[in-house]
Structure formats: C-alpha cells, structure tokens
C-alpha cells in the first residue's frame, strides 16, 4: 500500500519513542499527507505496523478533529468561532463564506475545490477573526481580504 520511502519515514518516526504505538499520531499525519485523508485500509495498515487493533486506530482517528475521515476540499477552510473570534466577527465571516462558496459547514464544494468547517479556538485570538486554510493561518480577516484570498486560489 505504501512505498519504501513512506515506510522508511514511518520507521524513523517509530524510532523516536520507547514503544511503537506512540508513533500513532505522527504516522497518521504521514498517512493524511500522503492520501489527503485517512481511509479504512490505512487504518488497518497502521494497526498492523504499530502492533495494535484496527478498532483502536479508528478510535484515535475519530477522536481528533484534524484527521479527515473523508476527502475534503483542496482548500480546506477551518474557521475559528470560539469566544474571542465571535466577539470580533467570526459568525459574520462564516456566513459570508457559506454564501460565497455555496456550501454549509462540514460540506465540500461539488468541484472539490473548497471545504468549510467550524473549529474551536486556534490560539490566534489577538488577530481575530481568522481561519486556517489547509496548514496556514490567515489572520485579521476582513470580508475584502477573504474575497481577495479565495478568488486567487486555483
């Protein structure tokens, strides 16, 4: 399922811990980097490699919010809506995004370009409102800045 390079990286990760199972989160990140999300087969592969049960891996994948259990958009927009961002306009930002992208929270646009989710505090309260686009933080957002940013994406 995975190439030699991938397996080597997994070996490197496993070596950083006293027990193989501790590499669970890092290895799942590698899987997600490789495949874009974490499918059933990958869960079984990880279970085998780390010496645990597939149910335990599935339990981990469904516990942590950042692991994707299905393919999301090429540009995955994670909008913070916790208190400080709410005080600075996150809800209006979210409404604008829904309208602009034509999707609701948790959905993927039909062309697979965008997905939109509501997330909790991203540790960027001083630059609210903001969202995380794939890996990157975009802070001090205004409607205009958001439009400019998204319109420029492939």
């Amino acid at each position: 399922m995975y190439g030699a390079e991938f397996e080597k990286q997994v070996d490197r990760l496993v070596a950083r811990y006293p027990e193989a199972k501790a590499a669970m989160l890092p290895v799942l990140w590698e899987v997600q980097k490789e495949k874009g999300w974490i499918d059933k087969e990958s869960e079984a592969w990880v279970a085998e490699r780390l010496g645990t049960s597939p149910a335990a891996v599935h339990g981990v994948v469904t516990f942590y919010t950042m692991y994707k259990q299905k393919p999301m958009g090429r540009h995955h927009i994670q909008v913070c809506t916790t208190l400080s961002c709410m005080l600075r306009g996150s809800d209006e930002l979210m409404d604008h995004l829904k309208g602009k992208l034509g999707i609701d929270e948790g959905e993927v646009s039909h062309d697979g370009k965008f997905s939109l989710v509501r997330v909790e505090c991203l540790g960027s309260c001083g630059t609210a409102p903001m969202f995380q686009l794939n890996d990157d933080y975009h802070e001090d957002l205004t409607i205009d800045a958001v439009d400019k940013l998204l319109d420029g994406l492939e």
Binding site: E120, G123, S124, C125, D135
Partner: protein, 425 residues
Amino acid sequence: MEKILTRNIHKENSQSIDVYEASGGYQALRKAVTQMTPVEVIDEVKKSGLRGRGGAGFPTGLKWSFMPPKGDKPHYLLCNADESEPGTFKDRLLMEKDPHLVLEGCMASAYAMHADACYIYIRGEFVLGAEVLERAVEEAYAKGYAGKNVCGSGWNCDLVIHRGAGAYICGEETALMSSLEGGRGNPRVKPPFPAQSGAWGAPTTINNVETLACVPFILERGADWFKSIGPNEKNTGPKLYCLSGHVKRPGVYEAPMGLPLKELIYDLGGGMLHDDRPLKACIPGGSSVPVLRAEECDTNLDFDSLAALKTGLGSAGIMVMDSSTCMVKSLLRISHFYAHESCGQCTPCREGCGWMERILQRIEDGGGLQQDIDLLKNIADNIEGRTICALGDAAAWPVQSFVTKFRDEFQAHVDAGRCTVQGVA
C-alpha cells in the same frame, strides 16, 4: 519594563540559533549541566517562586521535587505546547519567534529531572510552530545542546517534537500522556501521579511552554532577581498576557506579574474597541475561569489577586467584552466549546456539558423556560468536583459565574424570548 521573555521576537531571523546564541542564548543550559547539579537547579527554581503558566499556577519547583531519584526507569520531561485554552496565544508566539528559548528551557529543566528524553507536545493546528521548532531542534542537536553528551556534560537527552491532532483535552497533563502514547486523549485517574507513573509508566514531569521559557533566565540571573519582579514572593517573574476581544490593540504583552487589568486594557491595549461601548465583562484567565463584571475589574493580574476574586489568572487569556455583548450568546459559545472538547469518559462531564449547551441553545433561540437558569447552575454544580479531570470544572465555572453575575440578562432573555442586548444600542 525590560523585555525578558519577548526580548528576541522582533529580531530579524530570530528563530536561528546564531541569533539566539549571539544574545547569550544557551549559556544558562551550559551553566546548568556543567556547573550545577539537578538538585541545585530545582532549588533555584523553587526559590524563584515560579508558578506554572499553563493554567493551574502550581509552584514549579515543588512539582519538580516530586520526581523520584533516578533509578532504572527512564525519566521524561514533557513540554505542554498544546495551547488550546480560548483566549490564549502566548506559547505560540514564543515557539514561532524564539524557538530556542523554548528549547533551552526544556533542556535545562530536563536536566533537573534527570530526563532521558523531552517530548514537546504541540497542538496539531500549530503547523508553522512545529516546523520552526523542528528546524530549531536540528540546530540544537548540531551544536550539542540536545542529544548525546549535552554541552559535553556526559548527560544524554533526546528532544522530540510531537504533534497533536485537534483536541483541547490533550492539554490536560494525563491526557497529554495518553495521547503521546498513541491513544485517544483520555485523562487518567490520579493517583498514580505522573512523577510516580507517567508516560509509559515512567516518572514524568509536564510543564507549560512559558513556564519552561522562564527557567534559563532564572538560572542565568538567579532566583532573587526573578523574585524581585512581581508584587510579592508568591507571584513572581515576567508574564505574558494575552489580550483579546473588544479592544483596540489585542495581542501578547509582556509585563511583570501583577499588571493591573485596567492598565492592560486601557494603556497597553489601547482601550475599548469602540469608544461608545464601555467595558461590560472580562474573563481574566482563559475561558475556564469565572467571568468578572466591569466593576470587578479593578484588580491585578496575578494568581492570588484573582483567586481572591474567586476567579484565576489561569492561562492569562484576558477576553474583553463590551456593552454590545450578549452574555447568553457568549456563554452558549463557551459551553459549546466544552461540550465539543469533552473526551467523553466520565459521566458528569460527558452528559452534563452537552445538556448545558442544549439548554443555552434553547434560551438563545427564544424558547427558554423559567426554570432553565437555576437548572443550568444546578447542572454545573453537579459536574464540579466529580470528574476525572478539570475539564468538568472548567465547563462548570463559566456557567456558574455568567448565570450568577448576569442573571438579570439571562432572565430578560428568557422573558422576552430573544436577546435584549444586541440590536439595542
């Protein structure tokens, strides 16, 4: 005040080890491992009065003294970089802008713990922070500040960056260990305590990023110097304050422990966001601590002053709310956070958080019943003190404090069947 913790963050290339060393970086670590014993390091930190900056404010030197003498089990130091308490963003600043300060703090503290390895557990969302730290770790290894024979002392200690994947509960020290071991982020019943049986059953100490970042300064300039900063011996050292919400200049501000709250808001923070919307409420220590009404805000931001007001400094996440804020909606948003983040293990938190959120949603939507306000408080009271970890308390305290201190507003919202604040000037 002289900038201590944030002295490097505006420097060009501040993440590089060369810049860090040029300003005297890693000398404290060298001093610790070549001239001091671990016990001496612990004593110095004890004397300094340093208290944990993650939320609990537990005396750091005391926590360190719980570690047993080095036997045949490995020892671990875990750096809690999971920063997820709403209103808090100070650790992120240090990690992204001065990663070597964090690493030096980790290594010096790891030395005091006789640690064989230090794992920095950084929340998954801090992708940039993790990248910056990984590069810094490579640099540190290359110069002998981590890994084998640290600073030529003969002591070996690995330094590993470990990314989380989206769970506030993993900032709880025992949940952090469960997650580090590769499982769901479930807190553990205590005892056993981490110093007795922690990560992989071995003696473990867990400290917050900012707490560890203070250690190089304490070792370099001495406990007395550290103690001289701040209002008294129980509340010492420089502090990073995170200001957010309805202010003109939100951000991280460094000042001595005990900064007056109003100075933070009106001087450093530039005052209220809108001049015609005065202060209504303020949460001083991250969303888990009880809220303060405007008239309670003549206080200083230190552990004991806020404890006296029945709230807490917590993670120093100061969230400012002006007169346009609907306290019902705010509490709903906070309660949603805890319901979303509850690990689900124990009964009161698992069921109670969701229940409180649903009642608040009903009030917000206009369907609030007369008994809802007392019911909310009663549910919160029933969660408090009966859970495996403090998330239950953290969910209960906002509800208790909001509903008690802003009862009239909740009552009005229930009576009117809608918000009586927003939409009204």
